[in-house]
Amino acid sequence: MAGVTLSEVRKAYGGLEVIHGVDLEVTPGEFLVLVGPSGCGKSTLLRMIAGLEEITDGTIAIGDRIVNDVPASQRILSMVFQSYALYPHMSVRKNLAFGLTNLRMPRPEIERRVAEAARILQIGELMERKPRQLSGGQKQRVAIGRAIVREPQLFLFDEPLSNLDAELRVQMRVELANLYNRLGTTMIYVTHDQVEAMTMATRIAVLSKGNVEQVGTPYELYNFPRNRFVATFIGSPKMNMIDAVATSGTAAFDDLGALPIAAADGPVSIGVRPEQVAIGGEGELTAEGTVSLVEYLGSEIFVHVRLASGRTLLAKADGKAPHKLGDRLPVAIRRENLHLFDAAGLALPRAA
């Protein structure tokens, strides 16, 4: 088991820099998820750790060993690809054994490891099949099997669940989490799906446009986002964002009223999560609006409340709440639930 240390890692294609000096410390045995919108560089970063992509500048260390010039085959890691990348002409058994054969491992040891992986992933009866005879979920299992037979010091996953349908995705998510708990090996997992990130990660690194925006536990990211990007990216549905202008220690949020805030004069914004917009409750910011849409999810509903200014606030309520289209509703936000951001989008200390 090994940690991974990235220092000032950059990647440029020609003159175009896509990774801008990333520092990241992956501690041994943790499940780190790299999450971000498409094009943020998360896959590139993973491929650089794998050794499939050269790094332009900086250093990558796996354990204590700087691996900048170490080929992928010698980094003692496994990778699961989004497309599974199973060898189509080989049986499942040969797919699993291929890497071990290349390492000149003795045959009984190969057989032991392949059998062990087949048992863990319950693919024993598929061993003689070719990949084209497998379903998406089975292919996924074989791809994971091929990763675990190596008994690597590091697992890399590149959006492994995005080709599966929703139901299977949830099931494989649980299986992957169980696998992690069983093996305890360091895992780095790339996804664009923040739900996957939140549910599986020990820690999450949020990336945007080639920069790491924030690294932290799911709890930290959800409750203490460091900037607007993280605040809106993490959490579903999205955090409400309201812009305002601060003048001499006070900001007015049109319909909702004004608050004293500890910010310099200029544009600021506040964010509040839908579950903290209380319908009919109490708070320092209050307003009244009309229900413009109700999304029913069973245990809960999302109520879109349009205020007089035309702004829509999203509020989460209990599934049994009677709100319906066109209702007039009072909404309230408590001050301690507000996230405050300055003009550059950086989080300010919570309004005292």
């Binding site: 794998a50 050794g51 499939l52 080929p71 992928a72 085959s73 010698q74 890691l77 496994s78 990778m79 690809f81 497309s83 990348a85 199973l86 060898y87 189509p88 002409h89 291929f98 890497g99 290349n102 390492l103 084209r132 091929r146 190596r150």
Partner: protein, 297 residues
């Protein structure tokens, strides 16, 4: 019935020129040659039915037939694998992604366009003459080149080189095949610690097998039918010492030099059967080494 004809007459009218050509210029001569192969026919006198005599003579008494078979088989056995290997090697270099790849593709394909032509065969004869360019080059490094074309030990090799030089069309097909292999399989193999040689034999070759098979069959048929190079370089006779007596050259001589049309027709049918047999063998073995991704089962 009337309705059917009336409705489709325009279609048949459009088909007619091709149909007439096909019946008169392809099916007609094919059937005629089959008939002639059982006759003695010198073009001047009408053909005379002699049953299987042509075939019996061919397989029991004709030494030049045997020589022609041996030259042709040797040529096919050497030139086809050599050409395919060379084509694949060039395709793999081009596949690595180099600048101005379109230009290189065109340049490498050029010999294949020129290849079948008489002019290139004549050029080849000039190159490999005793006083030709090849020996002049060898002389600059102190090697006294042999009589490439006059020495029966070397003459066939010049034609093998000529065939390999025309690697353009299998190369383009290989290139397209290589492009179709997903990049992530190579990446998976890299992470699976497969070196370049292992990757080539464990990933590239099996996934390219359908394309290799296609090229193999096509080039094999092409090589069996190969004619103009041997004809020009040997001066139309298969010289020296019948070392360039390709099957087709022998057939041509029998037909048009000696006007033994009946016998030449029999030779043509035997060549057809040989080519068909080798193609069938290739197809039969293919199920053991060619993996088709789309196939079920």
């Amino acid at each position: 019935m009337h309705k059917f004809i009336r409705r489709n007459i325009a279609g048949y009218a459009f088909l007619l020129p091709w149909l007439v050509g096909f019946l008169l210029l392809a099916i007609g001569p094919i059937l005629a040659s089959l008939y002639l192969s059982f006759t003695k026919y010198n073009v001047i006198n009408p053909p005379r039915w002699i049953g299987l005599d042509n075939y019996v003579f061919m397989f029991t008494m004709d030494d030049r037939f045997r020589k022609a078979l041996s030259v042709t088989f040797t040529f096919v056995a050497i030139s086809v694998p050599a050409k395919l290997c060379f084509a694949l090697a060039v395709a793999m270099v081009l596949d690595k992604g180099i600048r101005a790849i379109g230009l290189y593709r065109a340049l490498f394909y050029l010999p294949s366009i020129l290849g079948g032509s008489i002019a290139v065969a004549i050029l080849w004869r000039q190159l490999f003459n005793y006083d030709g360019v090849i020996n002049a080059l060898l002389r600059t490094v102190g090697i006294e080149g042999p009589y490439w074309l006059a020495d029966p030990n070397y003459s066939l090799w010049t034609l093998v080189v000529l065939a390999v030089w025309q690697f353009g069309s299998p190369m383009l097909i290989f290139l397209a095949g290589l492009r179709a292999i997903p990049q992530d399989l190579y990446e998976a193999a890299e992470i699976d610690a497969a070196g370049p040689v292992r990757t080539f034999f464990a990933i590239t070759v099996p996934l390219l097998a359908p394309v290799i098979f296609f090229n193999l069959v096509l080039q094999m048929i092409e090589a069996f039918k190969s004619f103009s190079g041997a004809f020009i370089i040997s001066g139309g006779t298969g010289a020296p010492l019948d070392s360039l007596l390709f099957y087709t050259v022998y057939l041509f001589n029998e037909a048009f030099s000696f006007l033994r049309m009946g016998y030449a027709s029999a030779l043509a049918w035997v060549l057809l059967i040989i080519i068909a047999a080798f193609t069938a063998i290739a197809f039969w073995t293919s199920k053991y080494w060619v993996h088709y991704e789309s196939q079920r089962g």
